[in-house]
Amino acid sequence: MSLRGGLLAVLLVLASPAIASNTLIVAGRSVAVAKSAMTVTPDREWNRILSPPAPNEVWTIDGQDLNELDFFGGIATNQSLFGEKMKRRSRPQPFFNATMLITDVPALLENSYRALININVMAIDQIEPVTFAGHQGIRFTYGYTPRDEVRRKGEAHAAIVDGKLYMITFEAPALHFFDAGIAAARAVVASATVAATKK
C-alpha cells in the first residue's frame, strides 16, 4: 500500500513538468484560443498555462493566483464551463444551454465556481450589455473569496454565438493586482473575434 503510494508520488513528480508546460504568448500576434473559433491579439506578453483536462484556456502574467485570464471557447449545450462529466457524483456542475438568456451566464459562472472550487461567498456586481467579439453580449463584474481568504475581483465578457458560449474572464486579487492587470486583459478582450461558423 505504502509502496504503491510512493510509486505514485514518484510518477507524479516525473510527470509534472509535462503537465505544467507553459507557452509564451507574444505581443501583437493573433492566436486562436481554447481550441475554438475565437482569436485574440494581446498587446503584451502573456504566459499560457496548459491544463489538459479542461476545455478552457488559461493565461497569466505573474502566476495564476495573481492574475488569470480564462478563455471559454464555443461551450455547447450540455457542456460545463470546466469540462466536468454530467454524472460526476460529488460536485456536479451546471451546464450551458443554448436556450439560456445571455443574462443567465453570470449565474452559470458563479454556480460553476461554487461547485468546482468550493466558493461559498460570491457575488455578481454589475451586468451591462456590450459588443463582444463583434457580437452582442454582456460584460459583468464579480467578486469572491476562496479558501485562501484573499478577496478576488473579476470581470467577464461573454456572447452566445450560433448557440455556443464564448467568454473571457479576468480575475485577480482585489488588492492591487486587479487594477494593475485589467488594462492588459481589456486589450485582449477588445481584440477578440469569433469567426462565423457554418451550421
Binding site: 500500500m1 449545450t77 460529488s90 436556450t99 439560456m100 461559498n120 456586481d125 450589455p129
Partner: protein, 440 residues
C-alpha cells in the same frame, strides 16, 4: 509471523514509552473555566486549534450576526448546562454543506448548511451537543494519539511484517476507523443524555438522520444515480451510517419517552432573516433533488414567500421548459404572498422571456426597474425590455449573433434541454468526517 509481531510490539513499546511516562493525565474536564491544557499532546493540540481559531475569527466566510450567534449559544447552554457552555466560542461558517465540528480548545464551528436543514431548537441542541460531547470526551486528543500509534504500527508492520505486513497494516487501518466510529456513537449517546436532562425533547434527534437519508436519496434519484442508504459502514468510514444513527437514537428515544420541548417556532423565528440566504447558497450547488427535498421539508407547514421564491430559483436554474412554468408560478405566488425583494420581478421576467411570454416578461422587468431604479444590471434589463417589446417570434439575446432581433429557426425555437444536472450533497457531511486534523 510471531517473530514479526513481537518485533512490532517491541518497537511500539520503545516508541511509546518515553512520551507515555512524561505525559500527565488531565484531571479536569476541558470545559472547566479557564482550563489550561495538560501534557505535551494536549498543549500542542490546543496551540494548533488556537491558530486555526484566529483564522476563523478574521474569516470573510463568517456569519457575524450577533443575534443569531447568541441565540445558538443560548441553545447550547440550555442543552449542556450553563457551567459547561460558557467557555465555548461559536463560529457560524457560510458553507452550504451539512456539518459542524468542535476543536480541542472549545471552538465550535457550525455550517450554515446545518442550520438550513434543521427544523427545531431541539434538533439544533442535539447536533451541537453531539459536538460538545466530542470536546468533553477529548476525542480530538484521543484521535491524535491513536493516529500516531497507528502510523507507528503501520511503519513497523511494513518493516518487519514480511509477507503478512500488508494484512497487519490493513488491520491497523481498520481498527483506526472503527475507533473513530465508536467515538461518534459515544458522542451521539452523550448528546442524547444531555437532551434527556434538559427541557428539550431528546427524541427529536433521529429525525435529523431520517431526513439526511431521504435527502441523499432524492439527490441521487434526480441525477438517475444509484444510491442506497447503507446499513453498515464501510471499512474506512469515520462515522456510523445515517441508518445506524437513526436506529440507535430511536431505540434510546423509545426507552426515554417522547417528552420535552421542540421549539419549532423559536427556531424558525431566529433563522428567519437568514433562511433565504442559506437557501440560495444551497440551490446554487446544482443539486436539484437535494434542494427540492430541503424545500419540501421546510414547506411542510406551508409554502411561505421565501420558500416559494427559492423554489422559483431552483426551477429557473434547471431551466427545462416545464421548470420555467413552475418557476414563473412560484415567483407569482411569492409576490402574491407579499414578497418584497425587487429581484423576484427580474427573475420572473427572465423566466417568462425564456418561455416566450414577452409582454408579461416586459411588465415584470419594468416592475423590477421601477422598484430598483439604480440596479447594477439596469442597462441590461432595459435592453431586454426593449427587445421583449420589439417583435414577436424574436430570439432575445441568445443564440444569436450580431443583431438582437430575430432569426426564425434559431435555437430559441428549438426544444430546450436541461440546463443543469442535479447533485450529491457536496463536501463532507453531517456532523461528519473531519476535513482537517484538528477538528472533528
Amino acid at each position: 509471523m510471531r517473530r514479526a509481531l513481537s518485533l512490532i510490539l517491541a518497537g511500539l513499546a520503545l516508541a511509546a514509552s518515553p512520551a507515555a511516562a512524561a505525559e500527565p493525565k488531565p484531571t479536569l474536564p476541558p470545559f472547566s473555566w479557564a482550563y489550561q491544557p495538560v501534557g505535551v499532546d494536549e498543549r500542542g493540540l490546543w496551540m494548533e486549534a488556537d491558530d486555526l481559531e484566529r483564522e476563523f475569527r478574521d474569516s470573510r466566510l463568517l456569519v457575524r450576526d450577533e443575534a443569531l450567534n447568541s441565540y445558538i449559544h443560548g441553545v447550547l447552554c440550555r442543552a449542556v448546562g450553563e457551567d459547561r457552555c460558557k467557555g465555548v466560542r461559536l463560529y457560524i461558517i457560510r458553507d452550504p454543506s451539512f456539518n459542524a465540528s468542535m476543536a480541542a480548545n472549545g471552538m465550535m464551528q457550525i455550517n450554515t448548511g446545518l442550520l438550513l436543514r434543521l427544523h427545531s431548537e431541539a434538533e439544533l441542541a442535539a447536533a451541537i451537543a453531539h459536538e460538545f460531547g466530542h470536546f468533553e470526551l477529548r476525542h480530538t486528543l484521543e484521535a491524535f494519539k491513536r493516529r500516531r500509534r497507528s502510523t507507528d504500527a503501520l511503519m513497523w508492520a511494513g518493516i518487519t511484517g514480511g509477507r503478512n505486513g500488508a494484512n497487519l497494516q490493513l488491520a491497523i487501518i481498520g481498527s483506526f476507523f472503527r475507533f473513530k466510529r465508536e467515538e461518534e456513537i459515544a458522542a451521539d449517546i452523550r448528546s442524547f443524555e444531555y437532551l434527556a436532562a434538559s427541557t428539550y425533547r431528546a427524541a427529536a434527534s433521529p429525525a435529523i438522520w431520517e431526513r439526511m437519508m431521504a435527502e441523499y436519496e432524492a439527490s441521487a434519484a434526480a441525477r438517475k444515480l444509484k444510491f442506497r442508504n447503507a446499513r453498515r459502514p464501510s471499512f474506512v468510514d469515520s462515522h456510523p451510517t445515517d441508518m445506524q444513527r437513526m436506529v440507535y437514537l430511536k431505540a434510546l428515544a423509545a426507552e426515554h419517552g417522547d417528552g420535552g420541548e421542540d421549539g419549532v417556532d423559536g427556531y424558525a423565528k431566529a433563522l428567519a432573516a437568514w433562511r433565504p440566504q442559506f437557501l440560495a447558497d444551497a440551490i446554487k450547488l446544482n443539486d436539484f433533488g437535494g434542494s427540492e427535498y430541503i424545500l419540501a421539508e421546510l414547506a411542510r407547514s406551508g409554502w411561505t414567500k421565501e420558500l416559494l421564491a427559492a423554489r422559483g430559483d431552483l426551477y429557473r436554474l434547471r431551466g427545462n421548459p416545464r421548470d420555467l412554468t413552475v418557476a414563473a408560478q412560484a415567483y407569482r405566488d411569492a409576490i402574491a404572498q407579499g414578497a418584497t425583494d425587487p429581484a423576484i420581478h427580474r427573475d420572473l421576467g427572465m423566466v417568462l422571456l425564456r418561455s416566450g411570454a414577452r409582454a408579461d416578461a416586459a411588465t415584470a422587468l419594468q416592475r423590477y426597474l421601477a422598484l430598483r431604479p439604480d440596479a447594477a444590471d439596469k442597462t441590461m434589463v432595459a435592453l431586454l425590455i426593449d427587445q421583449a417589446g420589439a417583435t414577436s417570434g424574436a430570439a432575445v439575446m441568445h443564440a444569436e449573433s450580431g443583431a438582437p432581433a430575430v432569426s426564425p429557426g434559431s435555437p430559441a425555437n428549438a426544444p430546450p434541454e436541461p440546463a443543469s444536472g442535479g447533485s450529491a450533497v457536496a463536501g463532507a457531511r453531517a456532523l461528519a468526517p473531519a476535513n482537517d486534523g484538528s477538528t472533528k
